[in-house]
């Protein structure tokens, strides 16, 4: 494969529009290079790109939807503030004119904030005001830079900051650039609003405020990462702005990652009293993740799937490391790319129609690959002898079977997800969340192995068999709703059955109304269940209850309830098989945990160590390979120096090190008997020094004053 980079990695090339064509070809060529033939490579590349595009557009829509809510409340806030400003009644004249400030609580998943802010400012531009500027702390180290950013962002011109280092650039600005002060901005704003109100009186702004003839659009300044701003700069900026509130309808948005109390830490009372701060809570990252998973993973419409292990790696990176939905999506992208890249059979991983079509075009190599799939082997073993032979030898027969299997796989997915949702709807309200609070957890459990063989599932079913009627009916209704929207025939059937059951529950109601029976007490046993028990106790109570139940005659409700639970259980047993059970599942499921971990949770230290001790690993040069773990003398200098330094104690004598190095390096020469053998010549000396300073740069050694001509080792352990 042809990248110039040494490291193994996933390379994303963002094509610049000019070079697009060329770039596309080269990206595609990655897929074509391997053994499966160019056509399949192209097809897979196309599929992969299409899927990713689909993900991208859908996430955008999703983001917009999610932000809509915050935005609406933000809009209302800004409207209220500006209307308070122009009211002109006594109270609003008397009270200090504060700058409306929205404190947006975004959570600590900083990588996601960029997306939030970009969609937020887009929405603001569309619906409130064209004057929006976003600031990032790292661009605003000093007040003048902040002002410059604000002015440039709003006025879209070059702003002069009188800085010595920029003085020489001054010559190139032919037209006189504006001064960096809010006065300039004010003047600009007044001209701008006058113009626009003359030209286009009914701008696109939704004119909900009809009573006020002219409400000027506010100037919104967004501080993306409030915590990182220099407090002094921020304070000064607010002080300046407060002098202009009468002329310039300013509004601030603070993006806060931690907690609102940071505002009070950063701004003294004298400054915070200039602001009218209101809190806005954005969607929590866990909820965000849940929606994303719901959209891309728990649906049959998205042909690409993750196995349980890969999914749990991605999810655990999210919870353990960054809370970042964006990174989760990147992980998904990586898996997608890797899948289509490494699995030649992924041509079949697409919508049903296309997959069937592709199946007819499989060549012999592909079919051989199918024959090697473990899931397919299992399938073959289940067939009769004659069929087995046919499958293994007759290509055209295999193609047909393949189509059939693809159909089954699609059907499986079509039934799997609705059933999963039903099961979740039924069990998520049970005490102690035996099958997980989040549908994600249930999904993982189902992927792992047959869910009905798991202990938790069995206990959950037992609990279901004791649920009070109201609760049970509510969750059943939800199930019915889920099933109703599914188009598959099996699910339609199930839905009908469920509705019938629900009907019978209702009839029961009527019957009970007529003749209130004495088994009221039986209806409410779950109430007696202690809320928090350990599993052992729970089972004991359950057993006892069962015993006592058996002795009694079952009431009609109980009979119906048991029937219902059996029905659900049947549904689960027929549809929630783990994917491994399905022939050809490898086509859709990506399973390489190691790759994902390797790429997403990189450990630089380990890679450096591997690179230094086994240079052949990255250089892919077999001549460097040695059997006994010792180092070839042809290895790069730094590797040799590294290897030698492992044998030393805490302090390393540089001269000894150099001599050892010279000896090893000389061994590479053909003739060991020459005079120069092991001698330190200038070149070797220089190479050695370079190797040592590289090691120092990597943090393995450092110079020390404890002993002359020694360096200190910074790592422990050796050979």
């Amino acid at each position: 494969m042809s990248t110039s980079s040494v490291s193994k990695g996933c390379f994303v090339f963002k094509p610049s529009p000019k070079k697009r064509k060329k770039q596309d070809v080269s990206q595609e060529s990655y897929f074509i290079h391997d053994c499966a033939g160019p056509e399949s490579g192209q097809r897979r590349f196309k599929l992969c790109q299409d899927l990713w595009k689909q993900i991208e557009t859908e996430t955008e829509v999703l983001q917009d939807e999610l932000h809509r809510k915050i935005l609406d409340s933000l809009l209302e806030f800004s409207r209220k503030c500006s209307s308070a400003r122009c009211h002109g009644d006594w109270a609003s004249q008397m009270r200090a004119s504060e700058i409306p400030t929205a404190a947006l609580m975004l959570g600590v998943n900083v990588p996601d904030h960029d997306l939030t802010f970009s969609s937020l400012s887009d929405l603001l531009r569309q619906s409130v005001t064209p004057y929006v500027v976003s600031l990032q702390a790292k661009e605003c180290g000093a007040l003048k830079h902040l002002l410059k950013r604000v002015l440039e962002g709003l006025m879209e011109t070059v702003v002069a900051v009188d800085d010595e280092d920029e003085a020489d650039q001054a010559a190139c600005h032919v037209q006189k650039s504006v001064h960096c002060s809010l006065t300039t901005l004010c003047d600009w704003y007044i001209i701008k609003t006058k113009k626009s109100s003359n030209d286009t009186p009914g701008k696109k702004r939704p004119s909900t405020v009809t009573d006020e003839p002219e409400q000027l659009p506010p100037v919104v300044v967004v501080f993306k990462d409030l915590e990182a701003f220099n407090p002094k700069v921020l304070q000064d900026f607010i002080l300046i702005c407060s002098r202009y509130v009468h002329r310039l309808p300013l509004m601030f948005i603070f993006g806060i990652a931690t907690s609102p109390s940071t505002i009070q830490h950063m701004l003294p009372h004298s400054v915070s009293s200039l602001l009218c701060i209101q809190l806005f809570q954005s969607l929590s990252c866990t909820e965000h993740l849940a929606t994303v998973i719901d959209k891309f993973i728990l649906t049959h419409q998205f042909p690409f799937k993750l196995t349980e292990k890969v999914l749990s790696v991605l999810v655990s990176i999210f919870f353990f490391h960054d809370f970042s939905v964006r990174n989760f999506m990147k992980g998904l992208q990586l898996a997608l790319l890797e899948h289509f890249y490494t699995q030649p059979l992924s041509v079949l991983c697409c919508r049903k129609k296309a997959a069937l079509h592709h199946a007819t075009q499989l060549d012999h190599g592909d079919l051989e690959r199918i024959r090697l799939l473990p899931s397919f082997k299992r399938y073959v073993e289940g067939q009769e002898a004659e069929e087995q032979v046919n499958l293994m030898t007759d290509d055209s027969h295999l193609k047909e079977v393949c189509q059939k299997l693809i159909k089954t796989l699609h059907k499986y997915h079509k039934n799997y997800y609705p059933t999963l949702r039903c099961l979740h709807a039924l069990t998520s309200t049970l005490p102690r969340h035996l099958l997980g609070k989040q549908i994600r957890e249930l999904h993982e459990a189902c992927l792992r192995k047959n869910v009905w063989e798991q202990e938790n599932y069995q206990s959950a079913m037992k609990l279901l068999k004791m649920q009070a009627k109201d609760e049970l009916v509510v969750s059943l209704r939800r199930c019915a709703e889920i099933l109703r929207s599914v188009k598959s025939k099996t699910m339609k059937n199930a839905c009908e059955q469920l509705e019938e059951l629900l009907c019978r529950f209702q009839q029961l109601d009527a019957a009970v109304d007529v003749a209130p029976s004495e088994d009221e007490c039986v209806l409410s046993p779950p109430k007696n269940l202690p809320k928090k028990t350990d599993l052992f106790q729970l089972q004991k109570t359950l057993l006892e209850m069962n015993e006592s139940r058996r002795s009694k005659k079952l009431s009609p409700f109980e009979i119906l309830r048991n029937e219902t639970v059996e029905f659900v259980d049947g549904l689960v047993r027929s549809h929630l098989w783990p994917p491994e059970s399905q022939p050809l599942h490898e086509v859709c499921y990506y399973s390489s945990v190691a790759t994902v971990k390797h790429h997403l949770n990189a450990s630089p230290r380990t890679s450096i160590q591997v690179a230094l001790s086994n240079p052949d690993h990255y250089l892919e040069n077999d001549s460097l390979k040695t059997e006994d773990g010792s180092l070839s003398s042809a290895a790069p200098d730094i590797c040799i120096a590294y290897k030698l330094h492992l044998e030393c104690g805490r302090l390393i004598n540089l001269y000894d090190w150099l001599e050892a190095y010279a000896t090893v390096v000389s061994a590479a020469k053909v003739d060991p008997d020459q005079d120069a053998f092991g001698k330190v010549d200038e070149v070797k000396h220089a190479r050695f020094i370079r190797a040592v300073s590289e090691l120092e740069f990597l943090g393995f050694v450092k110079s020390t004053k404890q002993k002359t001509d020694h360096v200190a080792r910074l790592t422990w352990g050796g050979c």
């Binding site: 109270a91 002080l239 609102p260 450092k702």
Partner: protein, 441 residues
Amino acid sequence: MAGLLEHPGYDEERLKRAAEQLPCREVQAGMLLSLMGEPHQYCYPSIFIYGHRASGKSHVINVLMKELELPHATLSCVECVSVALLFEQVLRSFFGCDVASLLPRSPSLTDFVRIYRQQSPARQTRYIVMEKAELLRDADANLLPALLRLQELVEDNVTVILLSEIVWDTFRPNTGCFEPLLLHFPDYSKVELQQILSQDRHPSFSAELYSFYVSVLLGVFYSVCRDLRELRHLAALNFSKFCEPLAEGKVKETDTHKLWKNIEPHLKKAMQTVYLREVSSLQWEQMQQMEEETGALKGLSAHTHVELPFYSKFLLIAAYLASYNPARTDKRFFLKHHGKIKKTNFLKKNEKTTNHLLGPKPFPLDRLLAIFYSVVDGRVAPTASIFSQISSLVTLQLLAQVSHDDQLDSPKYKCAVSLEFICNISRTVNFDIMKYLYDFL
């Protein structure tokens, strides 16, 4: 009291109007007038006015300048991020944009003086008013001395008025300079505040009623706040509540006791909420309109909970331990077999319990990681994500980097969160941090 201001050379009508707007500042305004002299006379080169916040410094000057129509340039030193801006604003307000544009890029004081002197001389005194003059101390060393004797430099009838909250003594450069005339604006007394605040009465209510309202307000707030601006703001925010019983017809204007009983608890609550900006004024007004229990609304400082990724929590805990435990005690806390470290040795009396009083101490990255690996459950690979979490904790200001950004070699950090915060965090991961804190052994 109106009409107290008088000075030859100024229109009496105007003086009267000015005086009306300056209750309780007659003395200072009169003093200023006499310093300024008649318009065409030269005034003292520089005047330094100081007094606490909202003691009417800007107000008095503005009223005088506006009402007497004196040529002036008012600028705030916060805004003048560079001297160029300062010069430009002065030139623009005196001579218009054309002259201001004569200034070269990065102008020096000499440029300014040169351009100023090219302009026609003043027919009456021009004033340069500089707010927040204390910031001039941080500007170029020669700027303040030059401004103080600008009259001499430009050879024109110009006076610089400096406004500041700080006394002159802290300004004086050690090289010495021209001494400005000092004018102090004392704080307003309670009576004066009452008088000033009563002036902005609501047009649809009687003056007496409003004056009573102000006295109630001052009764509650005077002990904590004497800032005129703040008081006026609070008065405006709460007046509608005060008038509520009147509007409903329950109470008569004269029944002051009932009015007081109605408003007093409300004002007390305002003191803990809006006044501290725990609740914004907008929310406060909404709360009043809704008339429901306001307890539901949490103030800003009530939200302290921060949700963090799992390992970030442990990193933060490790950072806290590293910041508040002496490094030599690490062995005792984190080594499984720390052997015999004598208890008496271990606990040095004077060192104990003081770590939390002294605040967080810096620690190197290595120590943070060492503690992290010993407190976190299970094996954690030293992946890039762990390291990037440290830097995100720094951007979130939960950790503070002590060493300079450029220092790649063993950076140092401090933990910047409170004990309460870290206790909450440790509770969520079932880590008993108290057992590991030296101060609480």
